[in-house]
Amino acid sequence: MADIAVIDYGMGNLRSVSKALEHVAPQLDIVVSSDPDVIARAGRVVFPGVGAMPDCIHELESRGLRQAVTEAAQSKPFLGICLGMQALFESSEEGNCAGLGILPGRVLRFPAEAMVDDKGEKLKVPHIGWNEVHQSADHPMWSGIPEAARFYFVHSYYVEAGNPDFVAGFTLYPFAFTAAVARDNIFAVQFHPEKSQAAGLTLLANFVMWDGQARSNVCGADACL
């Protein structure tokens, strides 16, 4: 049984996710897998992904992984990254497709008319680069990460969460969008922790130790050891 399964459904560079996890947890067995059994038996699951949402859902279906993702998202520490976060929601403007519907909310494109900063300068889409993540909820996954730490983003669509209680972090571009969501055993981020240097590695190290309980304020990852 793998300690951590990184779900491989043909969307993007999974090597960097597994390498970053190996870096923070060299003692653990980390597998990149498209086998539903391996995912079902793993202690923790990472659901990464880059690319387009319709392709994502199509690939999950055609590889018979939809159920495995849904079950993992209900049962064990689960980390969604980028497209792997967006796919958890109900629908996306990207190709007008349905998502997995595990979390309430929808995925929208950055609207061209809104992409101007407070000095009147044009903001580019995709949103590429290092932006500040504001922690709007206490969560063990934020342990050791300063408020407003910068993480690396690359995306043209963002999540509009259907329930503000699930928003664990937000970022301004130029309006506040959902940078992280948390519910029960699910934590999902729009940015790429595997590409966010020290802050990202800390988040992954927190995931490796997280017991899957949301908002256990008394017990940060360090204190639990």
Partner: protein
């Protein structure tokens, strides 16, 4: 506070070594790519770009091994370009650990490659590299052409129109190099950078000509670049990446410190 402007050290790699020349000639050894990548990561580089300037195709695998090794140790975005001619080339580089792949000459010879690669892997990982040179004479309206083959061949394409076309085909970013400036240390071509950056909605990385830290500031403030790329000022120890960022911050540019 919002999105930071990025500083991207560029490593030109051939035969397993980092080199740097002036206008693509007179190469000088700058060291081991893995050591240099780790140093820039420690100094706070926002990304790293590797350009494989190897001429012969049988040495192409060297860059794959370098990227694999860097990706095991450095957890920031890695862009790799040079000699990318097919969707398969893109796939190999991504599998080796690249986050983005730069397409240069092949974008001119086969624009469909940009469309195919971005459809397959997503726009976010397709960077179109444009080498541009001013072709208008003094007093004429400014005009820049796209050059290929290391700046030796004029394609006759208007660089600004070309950047827009590349965006429409699926480029997620434009890496814009001023061929007249590359390696000269006299600063970015700011007119060119601004013309392209203002014309497209995707981020533009300015490249070619950085000789001091004010040039980086100008690239962002006057050139409207979203990211600035430099090689020699970092390779030979003149400045660290951190010094560059601190200088930009002192000039009211938002950076990741």
């Amino acid at each position: 506070m919002g999105l930071a402007k990025r500083i991207i050290p560029c490593l030109d790699v051939t035969a397993g070594r980092v080199v740097k020349g002036v206008n693509f000639v007179g190469l000088r050894d700058a060291g081991d790519p893995i050591e240099i990548a780790r140093r820039y990561d420690e100094q706070g580089a926002d990304e790293l770009t590797f350009l494989d300037i190897t001429a012969s195709s049988d040495e192409r695998d060297i860059i794959l091994h370098i990227i694999e090794e860097v990706a095991n140790q450095v957890f920031i975005p890695l862009t790799v370009g040079g000699g990318v001619r097919s969707v398969d080339d893109v796939r190999r580089l991504l599998n080796a650990g690249a986050d983005k792949v730069g397409i240069n000459t092949a974008a001119v010879t086969t624009p469909q490659l940009v469309a195919d690669a971005s459809a397959r892997f997503g726009s976010q990982c397709i960077v179109v590299a444009i080498d541009a040179k001013q072709v208008s004479a003094e007093g004429e309206p400014l005009l820049w052409h796209v050059f290929t083959h290391g700046g030796r061949r004029d394609t006759g394409l208007d660089a600004v129109a070309w950047a827009k076309k590349m965006e429409s085909l699926g480029a997620g970013e434009i890496l814009l190099t001023s061929m007249d400036r590359d390696g000269t240390k006299i600063g970015f071509n700011l007119d060119l950078t601004r013309a392209v950056s203002d014309a497209v909605s995707v981020p533009v990385i300015a490249s070619g000509g950085v000789g001091n830290l004010d040039h980086l500031v100008d690239g962002v403030k006057k050139g409207h670049a979203d990211a600035v790329l430099a090689a020699s000022i970092f390779h030979y120890g003149e400045f660290t990446v951190r010094q560059a960022k601190e200088h930009m911050a002192r000039n009211q540019i938002e950076v990741r410190l």
